[in-house]
């Protein structure tokens, strides 16, 4: 069980010797070989109706690790996250430059099949958004979309996904009940199960716990440890403790710029930039 309240971030982290300062990216931190960076973002700029929201972001995210995006509200964390599964396509007036490669493929190439990309890059939203259907249908939605028709296959996928999302025991007797009858934390885990059901490589989570009570939050954070054995997780959070507890690497954004990225331990014990220091210690944000 993860502790829910932590008096001080530094206290929670094992004090480790500071690593020598490095350039933010590309950074083969913690001995990750460069080939293991599954997402590579290069010189990403983004404008909403001409207003810049991201400025020259260059960042690599390692495979099977939890990377946290932290930063004050409005700094562009969600925007950056939505770039990774091209959900920004839906917003009018978005213009961008730069490139993003996922597993070596340029996802903004005109020939990319967006639905295929989104199948590989799953997403869990800040506000849980189960469909007004049964629990089973919610989880089976993705596989059905992608052509799974066989009932026993669907049954297996639903069970596996719910198990991975830690919801199977609570939901197995009420698979045909409306998903909206679940509690908030259960609904969020259902959304995680729904995202897992299409078998993604990467899981984007945009403040998945911000609307949840502490017990549900702890429950989901616990999940990260299991999930990162299979999935690359990108976690947006404005909760410092959560970033510290749950992530391996942390990227700090400020006003659309990437200020600093590194291993979570380094960031929290020994930030290189003074802005990072100020933010982590709660001087602003």
């Amino acid at each position: 069980m993860v502790k829910i309240k932590m008096p001080k971030v530094q206290e929670a982290l094992a004090v480790t010797p500071a690593l020598p300062p490095e350039r933010a990216a590309p950074s083969p931190a913690e001995g990750v070989p460069p080939s293991d960076f599954v997402i590579r973002i290069r010189n990403l700029n983004l404008w909403y109706d001409g207003t810049p929201a991201l400025h020259d972001v260059t960042l690599d995210l390692p495979r099977c690790k939890v990377t946290a995006f932290i930063g004050p509200s409005g700094c562009g964390k969600s925007t950056l996250l939505r770039c990774l599964n091209r959900l920004n396509d839906l917003i009018d007036g978005v213009r961008m430059s730069g490139s993003i490669h996922v597993s070596g493929q340029d996802i903004y190439d005109p020939f990319v099949d967006v639905t295929e990309l989104r199948k590989r890059v799953g997403m869990v939203f800040q506000k849980s958004n189960p469909f007004p259907k049964s629990i089973f249908e919610n989880v089976a939605y993705g596989p059905r979309i992608h052509g799974v028709r066989n009932r026993s296959d669907l049954d297996a996928i639903v069970q596996k996904s719910l198990e991975r999302a830690g919801l199977w025991n609570e939901a197995k007797d009420r698979l045909n009940r409306n998903a909206l009858e679940l509690s908030g934390g259960q609904q969020q885990r259902l959304c995680i199960a729904r995202a897992l059901a299409v078998d993604p490589e990467i899981l984007l989570m945009d403040e998945p716990c911000s609307a949840l009570d502490p017990v549900s939050t702890a429950h989901i954070e616990e999940l990260f440890f299991d999930l990162k054995t299979r999935y690359t997780i990108v976690l947006v959070t404005h909760n410092m403790q959560q970033a510290a507890r749950a992530s391996d690497r942390t990227a700090f954004l400020l006003q659309g710029r990437l200020v600093e990225v590194g291993s979570t331990r380094d960031m929290f014990t020994n930030p290189r930039k003074s802005e990072t220091q100020d933010y982590i210690t709660g001087r602003f944000g």
């Binding site: 939203f125 189960p130 007004p132 939605y141 979309i145 909206l180």
Partner: protein
Amino acid sequence: MTEASISRRWRRRTDLLARWVVRAGGMAIIASVLGIFVFILIEVAPLFRRARAASAPEVPVPPTFLLAGVDETEELAFGISAPGRVEFIPLTEREAPAATELPGFSGRTPTCVFRPLREEEIDVGTADGRLVTASVRFRVGFGEATEDWRSSRTITPETSEPTVLQLDPQEKPLQAVARQSDSRGLVAAAITEDKRLVYLCVLEKKTLMGGVKRTEHRADLTGELPAAPTALTIDGSLENIYVGTAAGHVVHFDIRDLDAPRKVGFDTVRAAGSTPVTAMALLIGDQSLVVGEESGALSVWFQVDDAASSTGKALRRIREFPSHPAAVTAIAPSARDKGFATGDRAGRVRVHHSTSGRTLLSLEGDGSAVTQLVMTPRATGLLALHESGRISRWRIDNPHPEITLQTLFGKVWYEGYNEPAYSWQSGGGTDDFEPKFSLTPLIFGTLKGTVYALLIAVPIAILAAIYTAQFMHPDLRNLIKPTIEVMAALPSVVLGFLAGLWLAPAMERYMPAVLLMLIGIPASTLLALGAWLLLPSRLRGRSRGRLEIVLLMPVLVLAGAACFALGGPLERALFGGDFQQWWYETTGLTYDQRNAVVVGIAMGFAVIPIIFTISEDALSNVPRHLVSGSLALGATRWQTAVRVVLPTASPGIFSAIMIGFGRVVGETMIVLMATGNTPIMEWNLFNGFRTLSANIAVEIPEAPHGGTLYRILFLGALLLFAATFLVNTAAEMVRMRMRARYARL
């Protein structure tokens, strides 16, 4: 008192006031809707009220009196008594006018009377085989003015000089007579005491010299009868004589050649056994024949088409009434409608209505046989002369005798029809006409109009709503949605006018082109889409719906033009150059210019905006995060629209359709102007119909206040009210459930 506490009190007061105003407003709405409902109900209820009769004091009559009629004011009954006097019997507290001698009688005894409906003449048969015809007229005058106008009213009978014809050459007493005349002359027939049937026709022709040429034709028809005659009647158009026999036959003579009656055929009243026919009478309009029997059985007959018959028609027993317990001895038709009264040998009197097939009243007389029965001219009273020499009297309150659930909603066998049918035909201008008040063709018409309109409106409106809410570029959407909403403000009379006067003739001319467009427009849209997808993605750009729509417009216009251009050749190639003719020959169905398709399009057009707006709202109110959730799973926009947005918005779309349904059901102007308002029951695409709402508009000028038609129109309104009320309530309930559901999303 501080300022804060004043403002708090002030706030409390306005709050209270606002609450009461809102509550009162709500209550007023509920009350007025309920009030309308109750008002309609009050107008409709008398339709189903039972007939009532109040018995009036009996009056004695002189010996050997034969009852002939009652005056218009129902104050004097009159008849014939031996030896040939017209006697007047006061029915109110007034003095009897002196009896008048009829000169032609000269001491002979009257044996029977006959009185054609609504004529002033009475016909008296005598003991020496003569027919004496005289008119009895009543002049109403007013004496010196008093408070009570009734008592000052004077009624003066005037009796004309009678005409006398020797009907039976053998001068035997006549048992029953019948006489009718028109401009050509006179036809009379009688049954004599020795059971002969004699026939006399007197024709009068004006000669060039200004004189009158009189010819007489006599016939003894006894030989044609299968058994001894017992009752007879002649119709007012001088075409048929019907004779009942002692062995239970109804014999039909065709007298259209007035000088030579021809037997058409006969039928027996009972399939097995025989019971003498004891009374016969034609109802107003001279089509329905009421036959009463010795057994007390009572039936209505009329002619229907029959190829086997020499005249092409044959007399059929159409309906049966409950039997009298004793022989039917007298039948009195009403001069107002298809009602009639019957009296029997045990002194009972009953009132019936032919169309509804219902016995409305059963009355007890004085216990002795009814010998004669008379209905007052306005059908509000009934006089029965009994063997005992007394007249029993009733006042009858029976304003809507023909209305039953069966006549309103079921099949009814009307006069002149070959089989029972649903029919609406409220009036023919005269009392002779049998009104046909079946609401079924109107309900059918309402459903037909609704189905065709919704068939056109629902797919267009909902597909448009899906497209607008889910796929259209927001800029376009902000333009299109208000535009379509403005369309809803178009008065339906304008749409009806356009549909009736422009669309209907245009469609008639270009029907094949219109049919072609049904295929051509979607096909060209699909082709354009295919071509678009073939374009290199760089050319397509990221227009997200704006460019596509702009490019589609000329394609649609071209496709429409092409359909029109090809319409003519297509009509020549497939339909032999004339679609209407081809349709009639292929399907046997007619093509009316103002038909269901025209109405469907016009009425569809009228409800598309409302269905579109409500569905579009429901669709775009589906929370964005559900759409993002689906897209983030790799669903396409179409999959998202169909699998997430549509199911979530379905209650809203359902309620949009229901509200559209409610609008179409009550829509009046369009159907009024764009259908022929023909109350027929066919699903044929290309003929008209009449809806309940249009019916009200069409018939209002014909419906006097308080009359049967007036109340039936209210019944139609009640049905419409109930239908829209139910549908709107259902829609509202669904909407409420949806709101509860969205609250949890």
